[in-house]
């Protein structure tokens, strides 16, 4: 590895870009967007260049690591590093930002409440925070990004969103803050406990892993972290902010919110809840599994019942996050690798869904599903891409989400048979909510308003969507690049939790992990 600090450069690039965007003269909206797009593409290129140097075989260790003293008084370091899981999530973030900027080129204009350059700058700041939150190897630093990223999103929803944007933005912020502050309490508790056990308090993740925290303390700390993550993810019953926030924000914001930000919750469960509090995680597993399974079914049923296109997509995500949490807490390599892969795949497929739905909504000027119909006739490309995105969301084999969803299911099934079986029912409901939506919007006779207003995707829009669909299909058949880096990292997590995969009934070595 070269001496060049890739990760720091990656983190700083969007921040520099945000400043550059703010320096663009007033009124030069197009220039601001162009600068933003160029910056985001450069950041993505940096990610690619960095990923090429990542050593998959050592993906369980943190690579590109660096640490600078930040607040020595609290033992806080500005420390970052990427393991396989973090790497793929960073890559997800940096690849979605250019797409979002390109797709949302006209979502924000002079008629918006906030300025165009403000929008672009906020997105770039958010990008830096997203990179930071996944890359942080200092728990304090993670928390800082965890909370700090709320602010750009809050403004993105509140200033650029739809009719009920204030309500949605405030609800989002307060709900997240509530969780975040509980996490703060736990974080401080962790620091104090580490001080008791190590002599000096630390937030260094690698030092905190394997710390022998008394079990009752662990449980409280776990709860603090977990509730924050459960709100963020969101798990039922902490989910009600998501439909509001996603429905009221611009499609681009919704993509980053649901596609990346919410992943912080599940990422946090995997990285922090499990590794820092192994015994407590095992203790909480039954409850989490129930929440996850309920979430899968509940979110799917609610999605079926929605009459608003964006809310529907938001509820599908509630269901998907149920799957992700299920895989994580199944405590099997299949489940956890599947969940990690799920995070990535869900990011892409939901991004496509939200963006295409956004195109559709902005054309028709309504989010109500019943206002649509027969779109396939007037906009076949739009309908086709929407279908592919939808199929990815329902985890059609051959598309990327299938691999992850199946791994989650098999990983759950091998340890918690009944949870696996009930979760499997979710795949029927997924078909129902996606295809019902498709049927109601795209097929049948097109109402006059649709005929007049809806036209097919333009070049820019196709350019934004196409990469997403390519990734969805490519990862469906060739998930190896992701699995190669995720698997070793998951092995590390499993080791930290002290869990082993159950052995098969025949063929495998007879091991202690028995089928339940």
């Amino acid at each position: 590895m070269t001496d060049f600090n890739w990760l720091l450069a990656l983190f700083l690039a969007p921040l520099v870009g945000a400043v550059a965007v703010l320096l663009v003269p007033k009124g030069a909206d197009k220039l601001a967007k162009q600068v933003g797009l160029v910056v985001s593409v450069v950041v993505f290129a940096l990610t690619v260049a960095m990923s090429l140097q990542f050593v998959p075989a050592e993906a369980g260790d943190f690579q590109f690591s660096f640490a600078y003293d930040w607040i020595p008084a609290f033992g806080v370091q500005f420390a970052m590093g990427l393991d396989g899981i973090a790497l793929v999530l960073v890559a997800l973030s940096t690849s979605l930002v250019p797409v979002v900027l390109l797709a949302g080129w006209d979502d924000v204009g002079p008629e918006s409440r906030g300025s165009v350059k403000g929008y672009v700058a906020l997105i770039l700041v958010l990008e830096a925070a997203m990179i930071g939150v996944f890359a942080a190897t200092d728990v304090f630093l993670f928390y800082v990004f965890f909370e700090a990223m709320l602010i750009p999103v809050y403004f993105l929803i509140g200033r650029y969103g739809g009719a009920r944007r204030s309500y949605a933005a405030v609800k989002f912020l307060l709900y997240s803050l509530f969780g975040g502050l509980l996490m703060l309490a736990a974080l401080i508790g962790l620091y104090v406990v580490s001080g008791d056990l190590l002599g000096t308090g630390t937030f260094d993740f690698t030092q905190l892993v394997g710390l022998d925290i008394p079990e009752s303390t662990q449980r409280w700390l776990f709860l603090g972290f977990f509730v924050a993550f459960a709100i963020k993810a969101p798990l039922v019953p902490f989910h009600t902010w998501l439909p509001d926030a996603a429905a009221e924000s611009t499609p681009g914001t919704a993509v980053l919110l649901v596609g990346v930000l919410d992943k912080v919750g599940t990422f946090g469960m995997l990285r922090y809840c499990l590794e820092l509090f192994p015994e407590a995680s095992t203790w909480a597993t039954p409850v989490v599994l129930v929440l996850a399974v309920v979430g899968i079914i509940y979110g799917a049923l609610l999605a079926i019942g929605q009459s608003d296109l964006k809310r529907l997509i938001a509820y599908t995500s509630v269901s998907h996050f149920g799957f992700i949490a299920l895989g994580i807490f199944a405590m099997t390599t299949r489940g956890q690798s599947g969940s990690t892969l799920y995070m990535v795949n869900h990011g892409f497929s939901t991004a496509a869904l939200f963006l295409i739905a956004g195109f559709l909504i902005s054309r028709r000027g309504s989010r109500v599903i019943d206002d649509f119909g027969g779109v396939q006739k007037v906009a076949p490309v739009l309908a086709g891409t929407f279908l592919v995105a939808g199929l990815s969301s329902l985890a059609l084999p051959g598309l990327s989400s299938f691999v992850s969803e199946f791994l989650v299911l098999v990983g759950t099934f091998e340890r918690y048979t009944w949870a696996g079986i009930i979760a499997t029912i979710g795949i029927v409901l997924a078909a129902l909510y996606i295809l019902l939506m498709y049927q109601r919007t795209m097929t049948g006779e097109a109402p006059d308003e649709v005929r007049e207003k809806v036209h097919d995707l333009r070049g820019r829009e196709v350019l934004a969507i196409a990469p997403l669909l390519v990734v969805i299909i490519a990862l469906g058949f060739y998930p190896k690049p992701v699995l190669d880096v995720v698997n070793p990292a998951v092995d590390r997590v499993m080791q930290s939790v002290g869990a082993t995969d159950p052995a098969p009934q025949v063929g495998g070595p007879v091991a202690e992990g028995t089928q339940q």
């Binding site: 609610l302 049948g444 998930p479 699995l483």
Partner: protein, 644 residues
């Protein structure tokens, strides 16, 4: 001994050793790649490919067929035990001990399917060039057809269950797209969605089966699962078998997941022929036969298969007897015939070969008849109501002849193909269980009734045409493929059945035991023929000799039930849809009012508290002083209390 145990007498030895692909077999992947490429070009290419798109579709299907023929020839050159060939392509899903690569297996079973799929597929592609010539979206149609062929080939060529699953859902997707091809018709869009969703219910079964396999064997490859089947516990095997059956029932429209198939007739007729008669719907049979090693070891699972197949056999036949829509009548027939195959597959080693045999023969004659029906519709302005047909033999001679051959084949009249395949199933059924035997025998009679009814109503009797139609024969590009299929229906059975070629061909894969019916096979054959004659005779008298009313008479209880698909949809609606709709509506209310209400309610409560407590700040200095004094008391009190 239990009544269903006949076939387990000698458990087939594990599948023959698998060798890695070399030489000509290195081309196996091309089978899938060609149609996939076609689909990609046609679907992504857009309008530019409109002028020649359909020919590209035909070319890709034909190319795949050519590859299949070459491979078949190559396979014939190998010894019986060397015909199992595996081609590893690339790593796919791997986590820990879970490994599912993208690898193909070409053996006698998959070869059979490959030939059927590419062969019939190519014919239907050609037919479609004519059938769809007036449709502005013909290119898209061929794109979907190519996609279907590729998926179906993946299904039968996959070397592990997970990859099989990809093909399994791929054909489901193609089926969804093709049923909903005329998406601007709401009924088509709804039918497409229904097909997909019902199939998904079956997919739950397949998913669970794969998970169970992994839990049981630590593997999902055919090799890892099937070769170790004997080591697994009975209950595991039974559950795997039942889960597989659920999957098969979904895809093959077996009871209780049969309801989608009749609605699927909303799609263009070539689709009904290719997907909903000849190939896709038979995937369930493939799945069960492929998993023979598991079913061989679980009697319970086999029994379940037989029961499901038997029920569907009868149901489909009854429904087919009452429908006036020519395609729906054929769809009922398809259900029923697949019931036969499933039942046969449930018989164990005595039945596997015949199940596949009947599958192939059915592929020929049913595709022949569906395409014939398409030809009729082509000439009748896309009408489907048989009560407005009649006497078409005079104007559509080729169609009449080819359809007639198919009719004779499905009736099981010697020497047409159906005779050889169906008779064997009846024999095998009797050799395992008398009830199963009687059901198949009776089914033959009903089959004769409804097929004769269909044939007579369409081609014989009196003209009942509506005024605006001018029936005419279809062009050669449509009738050519039909003729080929008719020819196959006529002679394929004779060529492969009595010669024993087919049994020997498949035996290394599926195992085979000679059926041992309690009475001589000839007796069964004669009994079956008698029943067929009775059924056909009744139908002929009723629908060819006597006038057929143009409006359907009220009919008796059974007829009305059959017209309503034996209330399958009604039950689904009452048991799943209605409660489901109420549930979702209630949940939406619940989520908004209760879950979100709790969130907003907490906020409102705190806000209300604030609004009320504010009033404590009265603005009176003396009241502030009083609360300070109270505070002092509080401070003192706490200090004293701590002391206690």
């Amino acid at each position: 001994m239990s009544p269903f145990s006949g076939a387990v007498a000698s458990v087939a030895e594990p599948s023959s050793a698998v060798s890695e692909a070399s030489g000509v077999f290195g081309l196996t992947w091309l089978l899938i790649a060609l149609p996939l490429l076609g689909a990609a070009v046609l679907l992504l290419g857009g309008r530019r490919t409109n002028p020649w798109g359909h020919w590209l579709g035909v070319l890709m299907a034909a190319g795949s067929f050519a590859v299949a023929v070459v491979l078949f020839a190559g396979m014939l050159g190998l010894g019986e035990e060397e015909r199992s060939i595996r081609q590893f392509l690339f790593d796919w899903v791997f986590v820990g001990t879970f490994e599912a690569p993208v690898a193909l297996r070409l053996d006698q079973l998959s070869m059979t399917f490959v030939l059927l799929i590419t062969g019939v597929g190519t014919l239907i592609h050609i037919y479609s060039v004519g059938y769809m010539s007036h449709d502005p979206d013909r290119r898209r149609f061929f794109g979907y057809l190519n996609l279907f062929v590729a998926s179906m080939l993946l299904l039968v060529l996959a070397d592990n269950y997970l990859l099989l699953y990809v093909g399994w859902e791929g054909v489901g997707l193609a089926s969804y797209l093709l049923i909903g091809f005329w998406y601007y018709k709401s009924s088509a869009a709804v039918a497409a969605k229904k097909a997909f969703v019902v199939n998904r219910v079956g997919d739950v079964g397949l998913s669970l089966a794969i998970m169970l396999m992994f839990v049981t064997f630590g593997s999902v490859t055919f090799e890892g699962v099937l070769d170790n089947a004997a080591a697994a516990s009975d209950s595991s095997l039974t559950w795997i078998g039942l889960a597989l059956l659920l999957g098969a029932a979904g895809k093959s429209a077996q009871f209780p997941l049969q309801s989608w198939l009749l609605d699927a007739m909303e799609g263009p007729t070539p689709v009904s022929a290719l997907i909903h008669a000849a190939t896709m719907v038979t995937a369930g049979v493939y799945l069960i036969v492929r998993s023979a090693d598991i079913f061989n070891l679980s009697e319970t699972a086999r029994t379940a298969v037989i029961v499901i197949g038997g029920i569907t056999l009868v149901m489909g036949a009854i429904i087919g007897s009452a429908k006036d829509d020519i395609k729906k009548a054929l769809a009922g027939s398809t259900m029923s015939q697949i019931g036969y195959m499933i039942l046969a597959a449930g018989l164990g080693t005595v039945g596997y070969v015949f199940a596949i045999f009947h599958l192939v023969m059915h592929g020929f004659f049913k595709a022949d008849m569906f395409l014939g029906a398409g030809s009729v519709m082509h000439g009748m302005n896309d009408q489907v109501n048989m009560r407005r047909f009649g006497l078409l033999r005079t104007v559509m001679v080729t169609t009449w002849i080819t359809f007639g051959i198919g009719w004779l084949a499905i009736l099981g009249v010697p020497p047409f193909s159906g005779f050889f395949s169906k008779d064997k199933i009846i024999e095998a059924a009797f050799s395992v269980n008398a009830v199963a035997g009687w059901v198949t025998l009776l089914g033959a009679g009903i089959t004769a009734f409804y097929m004769t009814r269909l044939f007579a109503m369409t081609f014989h009797g009196k003209k009942r045409w509506t005024d605006d139609v001018h029936p005419h024969e279809s062009p050669w590009i449509m009738m050519g493929p039909v003729a080929v299929l008719a020819l196959l229906s006529a002679v394929a059975g004779l060529a492969l059945g009595p010669t024993g070629l087919f049994e020997r061909w498949l035996e290394p894969v599926t195992g085979f035991t000679e059926p041992t019916p309690p009475v001589a096979p000839a007796v069964i054959s004669i009994a079956a023929l008698v029943l067929v004659l009775i059924g056909a005779g009744i139908a002929w008298v009723t629908y060819a000799r006597n006038p057929v009313p143009e409006v359907a008479p009220a009919g008796n209880l059974l007829t009305r039930a059959a017209r309503a698909d034996l209330y399958g949809d009604a039950v689904n609606e009452a048991v799943f849809m209605r409660p489901g709709q109420y549930l979702t509506r209630w949940l939406v209310w619940f989520d908004n009012r209760v879950v979100d209400g709790a969130v907003n309610g907490t906020a409102a409560t705190i806000g209300g508290l604030s609004g009320r407590l504010r009033r404590l700040q009265t603005g009176f200095t003396r009241s502030y002083a009083l609360s300070m004094l109270g505070g002092a008391a509080l401070v003192a009190a706490v200090l004293v209390l701590v002391r206690l």
